[in-house]
């Protein structure tokens, strides 16, 4: 180790003397520059700048951007913007906000109008920081404030665009709504992206595509006088309008599904099986998104969020239901593909299936007799599928269910999509710490038990059958367009996988689904149509397990909350399917009688519209005629 002082040897203490002079000059010149600049600003320009600061003066005014429009597939506008008038008070040091508010109150009551939410005003007011007194005021109030402008110093009306949801409840679940950005959202956002007071999407497509819809705020630097009115503009950056969103939704189908479902609770999902485009997505009951314009009132929010029917939940993507008999296609595909059965294999159904000391019932108490796969699907024979379930085991069923897109979110263009549940032995062991019982596989085979699916998953699973085995990601957005109509982005169909089922097996199942609607004895016979061949499957999902005892079963069925969910999934036309419809009605009873008519309305709407458009361009009619030549089962 060196000793302190070693380094002193050979060091010339004077060696930096000449550098000191140079540094002295540099530093002095630099600081003199600052002094000269201060002199210029404070002495030469001083009076002028002082004037500007006293008038003061310059304020930044934000120019809010217009949100993009949302349109349906046919470019019908679903969401528009309309002006909203807000009353804003710009305080300064001399005027008291209370007197101004009292004055407004007085003016209002003269015309028997009331100013709401005065208590919500900030206790202390910062000078020159605008205070929002009332949002989205009526025309009468606007007139009152404008005509008394002289008596109301510092009070200004501002125009801001708010959303107008033209279809209200019908599309509320898809489109969502907007609202003022919250503290948490501000903290989470990237720097400069959001600022307090910004309006952002809170739900649905408004939220999902918010960054595209929102546009960019502009700003204006203005000089204001003592009353807070802008005197002159010093500079301005215009706001940029957000992109327009074109959805894949067909308003006519949406309308048909919405009116068919009425005030019952449930959901309808309609897909184009050829590319995964979502043609309609209905969830009922719904809510009026226009309530959220300019901030929802406390009472409205309480009513909405405490409604026992959960109108804010989008059942079509986040409602998870037991699939009931609609699940039988998965079991059928698995059994065929695993070579456990052929289409000709028969099982005898006497109305019950016994496993150990447990008895599983067929919905048809007197039994179906000898049934092959085709009849088993057409008549929805439970015993047949109990047998398949026993042969397959839970894990093999689960593997095929996943291939059909069940058990995990599909990635639709909406927030809060749920994944449903496809149980496996492993799942039960890790989640419930219990081992799997064979009996559970038996009920699983007819879609009862732990199984849960969402309506969109159900529609998508049938779409893979309809298109011959391709699993698409359901898409809700067709393209983004700029204000002037330029296409910004087109969303292409996205293949997510291929069903590991051979075409001839898919064909067998599809024929059976055709039979379920078109053959006598089929559970969906109610949907039989002359013009278009519909293939479909009914489902009736038990909400709770039914007691074995006959009397107790009857008693249980009475209570409305425990009534079965009615399901129906179908696609059409048989040869070259263009549309898949999945319907779930909560506590509505049997799938064939309750859910199928809803699906029928949607199918009817689709084909009547198609007919109308086809009579005009003859070229397309030719193509449709070819489809009709496909072999019938």
């Amino acid at each position: 180790m060196r000793k302190i002082g070693d380094r002193l040897d050979g060091y010339d203490p004077g060696q930096f003397k000449h550098k000191f002079k140079m540094l002295f000059i540099i530093v002095s010149v630099a600081l003199s520059l600052l002094v000269m600049r201060m002199w210029y600003l404070q002495v030469i320009e001083g009076d002028e700048l002082r004037q500007r600061s006293e008038n003061n003066s310059v304020r930044l005014r934000k120019i809010k951007p217009m949100r993009g429009l949302i349109m349906d597939e046919d470019r019908r506008v679903l969401v528009d913007n309309q002006p909203s008038f807000d009353i804003v008070f710009i305080p300064n040091r001399t005027k008291d906000i209370r007197t101004v508010i009292d004055k407004i109150k007085e003016l209002y009551t003269e015309r028997s109008l009331t100013l709401p939410a005065l208590s919500a005003l900030p206790g202390r007011v910062k000078p020159f920081v605008p205070v929002l007194l009332e949002r989205n005021i009526s025309m009468e109030k606007l007139a009152v404030v404008e005509t008394h402008a002289l008596e109301l110093p510092g009070v200004v009306t501002e125009v801001t665009p708010v959303r107008k949801y033209l279809n209200g409840e019908m599309t509320a679940q898809i489109i969502g709504f907007t609202g003022e950005v919250s503290r948490e959202e501000l903290d989470r956002s990237a720097a400069g992206k959001l600022s307090p007071g910004d309006i952002i999407g809170k739900f649905g497509i408004e939220k999902f595509l918010d960054s595209h819809l929102r546009g960019k705020s502009g700003a204006e630097q203005v000089e204001v006088n003592v009353a807070g009115k802008a005197v002159r503009s010093l500079g301005r950056i215009p706001a940029t309008t957000g992109d327009n969103v074109v959805l894949t939704i067909d308003s006519a189908l949406q309308e048909a599904a919405w009116s068919a479902i009425g005030n019952r609770a449930g959901a309808v999902a309609v897909l184009d099986p050829r590319n995964g485009a979502v043609l309609a997505l209905v969830s009922s009951p719904s809510f009026d998104p226009n309530l959220f314009n300019g901030g929802i009132s406390y009472d409205d929010w309480e009513t909405l969020s405490n409604d026992p029917r959960h109108p804010m939940e989008n059942r079509s993507i986040s409602g998870q239901y037991p699939p009931g008999s609609t699940y039988k296609i998965v079991v059928a595909a698995a059994a065929l593909e695993e070579g456990l059965i052929t289409p000709e294999t028969t099982f005898y159904c006497n109305g019950t299936f016994e496993l150990g000391d447990r008895v599983f019932r067929c919905w048809q108490a007197k039994g179906h007799g000898n049934v092959n796969l085709h009849r088993a699907i057409v008549e929805s024979c439970d015993v047949y599928f109990y047998n398949l379930g026993k042969l397959l085991g839970v894990d093999r069923i689960a593997a095929y269910a996943r291939a059909f897109g069940l058990g995990a979110p599909l990635g639709i263009d909406l927030p809060r999509e749920k994944g449903g549940l496809i149980p496996t032995k492993q799942w039960k062991l890790s989640r419930l710490r219990e081992s799997w019982q064979t009996g559970e596989t038996i009920s699983l085979a007819i879609g009862q038990g732990f199984n849960l699916v969402t309506p969109i998953q159900l529609a998508n699973a049938y779409a893979t059958l309809a298109n011959g085995g391709v699993l698409y990601r359901p898409r809700l957005v067709k393209q983004l367009e700029s204000l002037d109509g330029h296409v910004v982005k087109v969303f292409q169909p996205e293949k997510q996988g291929v069903l590991p089922v051979r075409p001839q097996h898919i064909q067998v199942i599809n024929q059976a689904l055709w039979g379920a609607v078109n053959e006598k004895g089929g559970t969906g016979y109610i949907l039989k149509r002359q013009e278009q061949d519909v293939c479909g499957k009914t489902g009736t999902a038990q909400v709770i397990g039914l007691p074995q005892d006959e009397k107790a079963r009857k008693a249980k069925r009475v209570s409305a909350d425990f009534r079965d969910h009615a399901l129906f999934v179908c696609f059409a036309p048989y040869g070259n399917p263009e549309i898949v419809v999945a319907v779930i009605l909560e506590n509505a009873g049997h799938g064939g009688s309750a859910a199928a008519p809803v699906a029928r309305k949607v199918i009817d709407a689709y084909f009547s519209r198609k007919k109308m458009t086809q009579t005009q361009p003859p070229a397309q009619a030719q193509g449709a005629a070819d489809v009709r030549k496909m072999p019938k089962p």
């Binding site: 060196r2 060091y11 001083g46 002082r50 003061n56 500079g235």
Partner: protein
């Protein structure tokens, strides 16, 4: 390591100490004013926090004064290494506000290691050039290691992103290189290289940083965004006139027209309330501080002492010059604090510590002389 010597007290550098205390005191009053009259209670506490920072800074100053600087010089690389590790911590576990990740949180306080790096690279460079004295100007190739010493933290800090601190590191590096002497050919090559690299560097800047540069060259380009700072700042300074509007009476300040008025734009608060005269006095104090630092440099009894004194003095000089130049609208807006005046703990503590080191070098010339 620490040896309390009677001569430490006898030859204590009172001039430097009192100068720094006065400047910090002015800064404190100014922070009080900048935080005054805000309805938000949290903001009015700013000056109390600043007092805490000054006190912590004084502890740092005492430590830096008592530990023989030659001891620090011997361990300069380790100290440098620790500061780089802290930068890495920021990188992985740092705390981000407004889009840049610069802070680490230590029990209620946040600390900005990039401020510390300003001091540790001075120590590291001083040690390097002390070890590698060659008696002529350095060639570019001989500057590779010192360049490495600076470029590592520089890149980390640029990534945070913190253009201002990165800039200071680079300017410190250049200052020290010029000080130790650069071969004239190398100088030409470096200048040419700099010219070529500028457009490439432009490519690596963040959008907001480019925006600020462009705004500097034409403030009317963006009178609302970054230009707003400059315009409002110049109005504040100019409206102060010769004598200022008086303590707590600056309307620009009190009406909060100035963003960042406690931190980078703190000088505009001062200039508005104390006018040209106040600004002059403050600048004279800074000039005295800088000249005093240079005096310590030439009287240092060894090479590393002189280099450290030079580095610290230059750090203060460049920060003062760039910060005030930016507030007055003659330099682009980059985030560089005004020494001893800007609100913020890391800068205050680090600069106080640096001043302690200056005192250390100042006092030990008497001790070394007699040993």
């Amino acid at each position: 390591m620490i040896r309390l010597d009677r001569r430490l007290i006898l030859n204590f550098d009172w001039t430097l100490f009192i100068l720094v205390l006065i400047i910090s005191g002015i800064g404190l009053l100014n922070i009080y004013s900048a935080g005054f009259s805000l309805t938000d209670l949290r903001q009015t506490q700013l000056y109390i926090k600043q007092v805490q920072w000054i006190l912590i800074g004084l502890v740092g100053m005492a430590l830096a004064f008592l530990i023989d600087y030659r001891f620090l010089n011997r361990h300069a690389y380790i100290i440098y290494g620790i500061s780089i590790v802290l930068l890495l911590v920021v990188f992985t576990a740092g705390y981000a506000t407004r889009g840049s990740q610069r802070w680490i949180a230590v029990g209620g306080f946040t600390f900005q290691p990039s401020e510390l790096v300003k001091l540790t690279i001075i120590l590291a460079l001083a040690k390097y050039f002390d070890r590698h004295q060659i008696g002529r100007g350095y060639h570019l190739t001989e500057l590779f290691i010192p360049f490495l010493i600076v470029i590592i933290p520089f890149l980390f800090i640029l990534k945070q992103p913190d253009l201002g601190t990165g800039l200071i590191l680079f300017i410190l590096f250049l200052s020290i290189v010029f000080f130790v002497g650069l071969d004239w050919k190398s100088l030409l090559i470096a200048a040419a290289g700099g010219l070529i690299l500028t457009p490439i560097g432009w490519y690596f800047l963040k959008d907001y940083q480019r925006e600020r540069m462009l705004t500097f060259f034409s403030p009317e380009r963006d009178p609302l965004g970054s230009g707003y700072h400059i315009i409002q700042s110049m109005i504040a300074v100019g409206s102060g006139g010769i004598f200022g509007k008086g303590f707590l009476k600056g309307s620009q300040t009190q009406l909060k027209f100035l963003p960042e008025q406690q931190t980078d734009f703190v000088f505009s608060v001062f200039a508005e309330e104390w006018g040209f005269l106040g600004g002059m006095i403050l600048l004279i104090m800074f000039l005295s501080l800088i000249l005093w630092g240079l005096k310590i440099m030439i009287h240092s009894k060894d090479y590393p002492g002189a280099l450290i004194a030079f580095g610290i003095t230059m750090l203060i000089f460049w920060e003062v010059f760039i910060n005030i130049g930016m507030v007055l609208g003659i330099l682009p807006v980059v985030g560089i604090p005004l020494p001893f005046l800007s609100y913020g703990g890391s800068s205050m503590v680090v600069l106080m510590t640096a001043v302690g080191l200056l005192m250390n070098i100042s006092v030990r010339r008497f001790i070394l002389q007699s040993s």
